[in-house]
Amino acid sequence: MSQPEYDDLATQLTRTLTDRADALSATPLGLAEVTGRARSIRRRRAATAVAGTAAVVALLVPTAALARHSGERPEPGPATQSTTPTETSAPVDARAPLDVRGLPEGKPPANGYLVAGLMHLADGDTATVSSRHRVDAFAVLSDGTEVFHTLTDQGVGSVEVTDSGGTEHGPYPAGFGLAVDDSRTAAAWVSPDGQVRTWVATHTAPTAIAPPLPGGAAQVASMSGDCSAATPCRVLVRTTDQTTGKSTDHVVSSDGTTAPADPAHRFVDVSDVSGFGLVAGYTRIGEGDSCSAVASGSGPVDWKTCDHSLLAFSPDLTSVSADSDFRSGTGSSVLAAYDVATGHLLFEHRSTLKTQAFVTSTVWEDDTHLLATVYQHGRWSVVRFGLDGSMEIAVSAEQGRNFESPIVLAGQP
């Protein structure tokens, strides 16, 4: 008979475990020890967020629906150019199709990610997130402060902050987007009335960094500088006039000034600006084509491409990410990167009719790697793209609807 056997064992098991546990003499644990460990965990999480990256640059996802292009192409560089060898020993095809099936598994994202309400950091540590609404962007600052941009089901944005001491702040009304500075010292968002606010590490309240921007819906795109007196932060913000639909790009600085993102009027839409005068964006958006360019000063643009939309500079400002020049539906069918100095194409992975994959959010993990959430055949993954053309899985596949990634990368807009 099996049941008596089970009961005997279960009874003995309970007795054994209880005896063992009861015999344990406890060493009292004080609040100071717990808070000390908590501070250590916070520091580790913050260090993990910064490790391996001078910055994780938030990328602007162009909102304009663009049509496919014809012409004005720079001479591309070698298709198999390898700038950063990876650990992969097999030859790397920098023009391989965008296909995440069967990719090797790599380390988790150095900047962390969030899925199903659980924040994952590179060291394997996790933390639950219980924000009031769905998190669509988040950042962990250098002191461990967590900044979450959330959206209600109706699309109303707000920002919630948990400071390094564990105290919650907000929610603060917010427009779209959340940007983080290169050193993860500060995060920035814009309120519905056009007021750009930053949260600086170690602070206990947000700071309004300049007078509110005039007119319309606002979206934060990117941020550079650490908001100190020595290196003021510069926040790229786009406002859109609700009547005319015209968008304007501004650079709002923590020194209190606001200026046009491209005073020389070379760009019709600015995608990214750096603290060193680099600008990337669209130079032309036509009915059926578009072109993008990089400029390093106030003069003519340095180089131009009409094959891709340029997105964001790498932390070391040597590369710029790119995706499709024609964005329709929920994502881009291509991901690429260019050499900032020469305009040479470093890699391009394009989806095919067979692979049917597309990219949504993208962030720079370090100077030579991009992380992107990729959808393919009913599953979402985070894929690490090397400038040498390599691809590997950073977060394994999660099932999800094909219009909204269940995975949120730290630093994504």
Partner: protein
């Protein structure tokens, strides 16, 4: 030039909230740590790792204290932190490196004394429990020490009830296989000349 935060006067209010929060947390810590330490000990098998595990679990709870809006759910929440922390691959690798050299010494010094009135059956069973894989050991501890239901165990471990059932079944089979013969009637019957 940096501008001052908008709410300097709020700093006092924040400090007061933090003090109240710490007081609230300290009361919970004092009340629940003995129980949590016992569970941690059963999971880890030694007091050193158990204390470390409990400290980490409470630290993570502290970091989330303001976010746990339903105070009635805290016990389950911290238990889940504890078990998941114990199961994490990263922790396992780290622990292996840290304690590989002195595992034997630690176990010899820190094993609590226990009643041997059961002719060593409990001691032997405990030894076998320690050989179970971590996930299986967690299932056994939650089911037979914490006396959680299969559904509650599944919720703590973040796995399905079906997985809890299969893990329990496999763990008991392993225990029956390797535990003293008095707990394995099949073997006892085979040995019984009658």
């Amino acid at each position: 030039m940096d501008r001052p935060p908008e709410d300097r006067t709020g700093a006092t209010a924040v400090a007061e909230r933090r003090t109240a929060r710490d007081s609230d947390f300290a009361a919970y810590l004092a009340a629940r740590q003995p129980s949590l330490l016992r569970t941690a000990y059963l999971l880890t098998g030694n007091r050193h790792d158990a204390e470390d595990l409990v400290q980490t679990a409470f630290a993570k709870l502290y970091l989330s204290w303001d976010k746990v809006r339903d105070r009635g759910s805290i016990d389950g929440y911290v238990r889940r932190i504890l078990v998941n922390e114990h199961n994490s691959l990263w922790r396992r690798a780290w622990k292996r490196r840290e304690h590989a050299a002195d595992d034997v010494v630690l176990h010899a010094l820190e094993e609590p004394h226990h009643d041997l009135a059961d002719d060593g059956v409990g001691s032997a069973l405990w030894d076998v429990v320690q050989t179970l894989p971590r996930r299986a050991r967690a299932v056994v501890v939650l089911r037979y020490y914490e006396e959680l239901s299969e559904a509650e165990t599944a919720a703590v471990l973040g796995i399905s009830v079906g997985t809890v059932k299969s893990q329990t079944s496999r763990a008991l089979a392993a225990l029956r296989e390797r535990a003293p013969q008095t707990l394995n009637p099949r073997t006892s019957e085979e040995d019984d000349p009658s």
